[in-house]
C-alpha cells in the first residue's frame, strides 16, 4: 500500500549466544536467541497499531529496531518509501530520529534526576541544532510542555524530576519525544507503571496528539484490553512471530489463533462474569518458552490446547482470514470460528504437605518466644 508510513519485511533479530570467552573472542556463536524471528508489519499513516505479547515475545525488540537502537540481523525497514534498513552513522540517524521517536516504559528511569525538565525537553533540539537561540528554544520547550498538559509550563520547566508525580514525569517524557514533531512514535508500555486514573489521562493525551498532528503510533503493550481500547489494529506476537493481526475489535471478538483466544479469555474485567462464565477461561500452562530454544513446527504448539500432529512438524504461515485479519494457525479458516477451546481442565489434586510434627509449641518450646533476636518477620 502506498500510504504505509513504515513497513517491516522479514525482520529478524537474533542475538548470538556464546558459551565461553573463547567463543566471544572467535565470534563463534553457539546458537542464538531469536528475539524477532521473521515478521512482516506495515503501519499506515495516522494509524495506531498495538503490538501485544507476553514478556519475551519480541515486541520491545521490534520497537527498538524501528527507532534503530538495535540492529536487525535480517530483513528490511522501509520508512516513508525509503529503505532505512542500513541507515547508520550519526548524521543520517539524527535525520531519521527527528521523524521517529520512542517513549519508554518507566518515567522514573527515563529522566535524568540531575537534569531540569527544561534541559530534558530541550536536549533533542540542541542535539539536532534546531532553534539555536536560547529564547527560541525556550519558546519551543514551553509549547511542548503546554501541549502535554503541563500548565503553567513556565512553572514546570525549571523543576527537577523528583518534584513531579509519576504521571507528570511521563508527560515530560512525551513532551521530549514530541518536540521534534516526529511522524511515528513507538510507545513501549507507556502507561503500565502508572495508576489507573493517570493512565486514562495519558492515553487521552496520546489520542489528542494524534488528532492534532496526524501522528502514527506503534503501541507496545502486554495488556490486550488496553490495546483494544486504544488501537486501530492489533498484532499479537508470540516468541518472535506475529501469530495474528487485524482490526482491533475483530481480533478480540473473533480471534482466529488459539493464543489470542486464550489471552482474551483470561483478560480480567472489572465486571465479574455471570456465574459459570468464569469457567470459560483457558489458562495456558507453563510460560513462554526460551527464545533460544524455539519449538519445532508451530512455536505455540507445546502450550496449545488444540495442537495436533501437523502443528508439531510444520510451521503455519500467516494466512489472510478476510476483512483485514490474518492468523498463523493450521486450524484457522476464514469466516469460521476456532473450535471451542477446552477450558482449564480439572486440576490434579494438590500434592500433600506433611504436617509439622510439633503440636502447638508451648510457651517454653516456642522458639519465637524464647528468642527475641529477630529472624524474618
Amino acid at each position: 500500500m502506498t500510504d504505509d508510513l513504515i513497513r517491516l519485511e522479514g525482520l529478524e533479530v537474533h542475538f548470538p549466544l556464546h558459551a565461553n570467552l573463547e567463543d566471544v573472542v572467535l565470534r563463534r556463536p553457539r546458537g542464538a536467541v531469536r528475539a524477532v524471528d521473521g515478521i512482516d508489519l506495515a503501519i499506515q499513516k495516522g494509524e495506531i497499531l498495538a503490538l501485544v505479547g507476553e514478556s519475551g515475545s519480541g515486541k520491545t525488540t521490534t520497537g527498538r529496531v524501528i527507532v534503530k537502537l538495535t540492529r536487525q540481523t535480517a530483513g528490511s525497514i522501509v520508512f516513508d518509501g525509503q529503505d532505512v534498513s542500513d541507515l547508520w552513522g550519526q548524521r543520517r540517524l539524527r535525520e531519521y530520529r527527528k521523524r521517529v521517536q520512542i517513549i519508554f516504559q518507566d518515567p522514573y528511569e527515563t529522566l535524568n534526576p540531575k537534569q531540569t525538565i527544561n534541559d530534558f525537553v530541550a536536549e533533542p533540539l540542541q542535539v539536532n541544532g534546531i532553534a539555536r537561540s536560547l529564547a527560541e528554544r525556550e519558546q519551543r520547550v514551553l509549547e511542548a510542555l503546554e501541549s502535554v498538559g503541563l500548565r503553567p509550563a513556565r512553572e514546570f520547566a525549571f523543576r527537577y524530576p523528583h518534584e513531579l508525580s509519576g504521571g507528570q514525569r511521563q508527560r515530560v517524557v512525551i513532551a521530549g519525544a514530541m518536540i521534534l514533531e516526529p511522524e511515528l512514535v513507538v510507545a513501549d508500555e507507556p502507561v503500565s507503571m502508572l495508576d489507573v486514573s493517570i493512565r486514562t489521562e495519558l492515553l487521552r493525551l496520546m489520542l489528542d496528539l494524534r488528532e492534532q498532528r496526524g501522528l502514527t503510533y506503534l503501541f507496545i503493550t502486554h495488556d490486550l484490553s488496553l490495546a483494544w481500547v486504544l488501537a486501530d489494529r492489533i498484532a499479537v506476537m508470540y516468541l518472535g512471530k506475529i501469530v495474528e493481526i487485524g482490526p482491533a475489535d475483530q481480533v478480540i471478538r473473533s480471534p482466529h489463533h488459539p493464543y489470542t483466544q486464550a489471552l482474551v479469555s483470561v483478560s480480567p474485567t472489572p465486571e465479574p462474569p455471570a456465574p459459570g462464565l468464569g469457567a470459560q477461561r483457558t489458562i495456558l500452562e507453563g510460560e513462554t518458552p526460551d527464545a533460544a530454544r524455539i519449538p519445532s513446527g508451530c512455536r505455540f504448539h507445546p502450550r496449545c490446547p488444540l495442537a495436533f500432529d501437523r502443528c508439531r512438524s510444520e510451521e503455519p504461515p500467516l494466512v489472510d482470514m478476510g476483512r483485514g485479519q490474518s492468523a498463523a494457525c493450521w486450524l484457522a479458516e476464514p469466516g469460521r470460528p476456532l473450535p471451542t477451546m477446552p477450558t482449564t481442565a480439572a486440576p490434579a489434586p494438590l500434592p500433600e504437605v506433611t504436617p509439622v510434627a510439633t503440636p502447638e509449641p508451648s510457651a517454653k518450646a516456642d522458639p519465637t518466644d524464647a528468642d527475641p533476636a529477630a529472624p524474618p518477620a
Binding site: 495488556d223 472489572p270 468464569g278
Partner: protein, 433 residues
C-alpha cells in the same frame, strides 16, 4: 466443602465424621435456602442461613488447624475484625493520616479485596495488621485489630512474633525484591519453618520442597537461586513461603502486578485453589479492580485512608454506589463488553497531611454537593450488604442504616442467593438480582 475432599485434608489433617456430617447438613440447608422459590426473600431469612453455614465453615476450618488457637483466643469469634484503624505517619511537616478510620471484618475462608489508587492506604492497612510498620508510624488509640478476639494493637514486638507467619503471612509485591538473591529458594522457605516452628534443618527443607510442589514448582528447583527462576516462578515461591507455617490469613500485596496476563491468571487460580482447599483467608491488595472481581468474595474500596465502599464483589461491581467506585470501574476496559471511552478521574488523590474537609473525595467528585464539602459522610449499610460512605446514599434511603465500627464487626453480609460453588457457601457469591 471441597477443601476437605475425601475427608483427609490436603495437609493430611483428618476431619472427624461428626464435623463432616454437620457440614453436609449445613450445605444442604444453604442449598435449600438458595433454591427456594422467590430467592429474593427478606434479608433476615437469608442472613440466618448464611450465619449457620458460615459458622459451620468457620468451625471446620478451625478444626483443621495443625495447632490450637492462640491461648487467649475465643474459638467462636470472627477470624479478623479491624475496628476504626487509624495509622498515621509522623513527618517533619506534620502527621500523614494514611489510614484514618478503617473497619472491616474477615471470616474464615473468605477472600477480601482491598482496592484503590496508590497512596490511598491499602498497603498501610495491611502492614498495620501485622504491625510491620516503619518507625515513624503510629497506630492511634482506639484502633483495634482483633484476631480471634485478641487485640494485636497493644502487643509487643516479641509477642507479635507468635502471630506473624503462623497466623498472618504476607506475599509481597515484586518477588524479585522480596527474595534474598544470594540464598537458595528452599532455604528461604525453610527459614520461617525453623524459626517459628522449631523444626530441624532436614525436616524444614523437606517441607519447603513439599510446599514448592504445592504451588506448582518441582521440588528440585528449590536448590536454585531466585534469579534462575522466572517472574511467575518467583511469585509462586513467595506464596510457598507465605504458606510455610500454615497461616490462617495470607495477605497478598499486589501479588500479580508485574506479571504477564497469562501468568497472572495462573497465580490467581493458584491462590483461589489454595484458599478453597486449605481453608485460607485471603486479603488481596491491588489497584486493579479486575483482579479482585474474579478472585474475591468481598471488596473494600479505599480512598484517601477511608472506606469508600465495601460489600460483596458482585453487588459492588454490578451497581457501584460511590462515585469513586464508579469512576474507578470506568477507568478499566472491559474486553468482554462493548468498547467505550475510558473514564478519567480528574485531579489527584489528596495530600493526606491535610485532607480536604468533609468527604475526602469531594474535590474530584462529579456529583459533589454542598454538604460534601463540610460534613464527613457516615458509613451506611444497605440491605444487600454493601456499606457506602457517600452523601448521595444517606441512611434511611433504600433501607440504608448508619453503622459504626462495632456494627461492622458484628455484621455478616447476607447470603444473597447461595450458589454452591463446590466450596464454602460464601456470602455474596450469588448473581446480582
Amino acid at each position: 466443602m471441597s477443601f476437605i475432599g475425601d475427608g483427609s485434608g490436603p495437609l493430611g489433617r483428618d476431619m472427624d465424621g461428626a464435623a463432616r456430617e454437620a457440614a453436609e447438613q449445613d450445605r444442604l440447608e444453604a442449598e435449600v435456602a438458595g433454591t427456594r422459590p422467590g430467592a429474593a426473600s427478606p434479608v433476615g431469612d437469608d442472613a440466618m442461613t448464611a450465619r449457620i453455614s458460615a459458622d459451620a465453615a468457620r468451625d471446620l476450618i478451625r478444626a483443621q488447624r495443625p495447632w490450637p488457637l492462640p491461648k487467649q483466643a475465643d474459638p467462636k469469634a470472627p477470624l479478623l475484625v479491624v475496628e476504626d484503624l487509624r495509622t498515621h505517619f509522623k513527618l517533619e511537616s506534620g502527621w500523614v493520616k494514611a489510614v484514618d478510620g478503617v473497619s472491616f471484618r474477615l471470616d474464615d475462608g473468605e477472600a477480601l479485596g482491598l482496592v484503590g489508587e496508590s497512596g490511598c492506604g491499602k498497603t498501610t492497612t495491611a502492614l498495620s495488621l501485622v504491625k510491620l510498620l516503619p518507625g515513624n508510624a503510629r497506630i492511634r488509640k482506639g484502633s483495634q485489630v482483633k484476631l480471634f478476639d485478641i487485640d494485636l494493637v497493644p502487643k509487643s514486638e516479641a509477642a507479635m512474633r507468635r502471630y506473624r507467619w503462623r497466623e498472618i503471612s504476607m506475599v509481597f509485591q515484586g518477588a524479585m525484591n522480596a527474595l534474598n538473591p544470594v540464598r537458595r529458594v528452599s532455604e528461604q522457605i525453610a527459614e520461617p519453618i525453623e524459626q517459628r516452628l522449631g523444626v530441624e534443618r532436614g525436616a524444614s527443607l523437606r517441607r519447603a520442597g513439599e510446599l514448592l510442589e504445592l504451588v506448582g514448582i518441582p521440588a528440585k528447583r528449590g536448590s536454585t537461586y531466585p534469579h534462575e527462576l522466572s517472574g511467575g516462578m518467583r511469585q509462586r515461591a513467595m506464596i510457598a513461603m507465605a504458606l510455610a507455617c500454615d497461616p490462617a490469613i495470607v495477605i497478598g500485596d499486589e501479588p500479580t502486578t508485574a506479571l504477564d496476563v497469562m501468568i497472572q491468571a495462573q497465580i490467581l487460580e493458584l491462590l483461589e485453589r489454595l484458599r478453597r482447599e486449605l481453608g485460607l483467608s485471603l486479603i488481596l491488595i491491588t489497584h486493579d479492580l479486575s483482579v479482585t472481581a474474579e478472585t474475591c468474595d468481598r471488596v473494600l474500596v479505599m480512598y484517601a485512608g477511608k472506606v469508600a465502599e465495601e460489600g460483596p464483589v458482585r453487588r459492588v461491581y454490578s451497581a457501584p454506589r460511590h462515585p469513586y467506585t464508579q469512576k474507578l470501574m470506568g477507568a478499566f476496559p472491559n474486553i468482554h463488553a462493548d468498547r467505550r471511552a475510558l473514564e478519567v478521574i480528574p485531579g489527584q488523590p489528596p495530600d493526606l497531611k491535610d485532607p480536604p474537609p468533609g468527604c475526602r473525595f469531594h474535590p474530584r467528585c462529579p456529583a459533589v454537593m454542598e454538604v460534601c464539602k463540610v460534613e464527613v459522610p457516615p458509613e451506611v449499610r444497605f440491605p444487600d450488604g454493601v456499606r457506602v460512605a457517600c452523601h448521595l446514599h444517606p441512611a434511611g434511603k433504600d433501607g440504608g442504616v448508619q453503622v459504626d465500627a462495632a456494627d461492622v464487626a458484628d455484621y455478616r453480609a447476607p447470603l444473597v442467593a447461595p450458589v454452591p460453588l463446590g466450596g464454602i457457601d460464601r456470602a455474596g457469591e450469588g448473581p446480582a438480582a
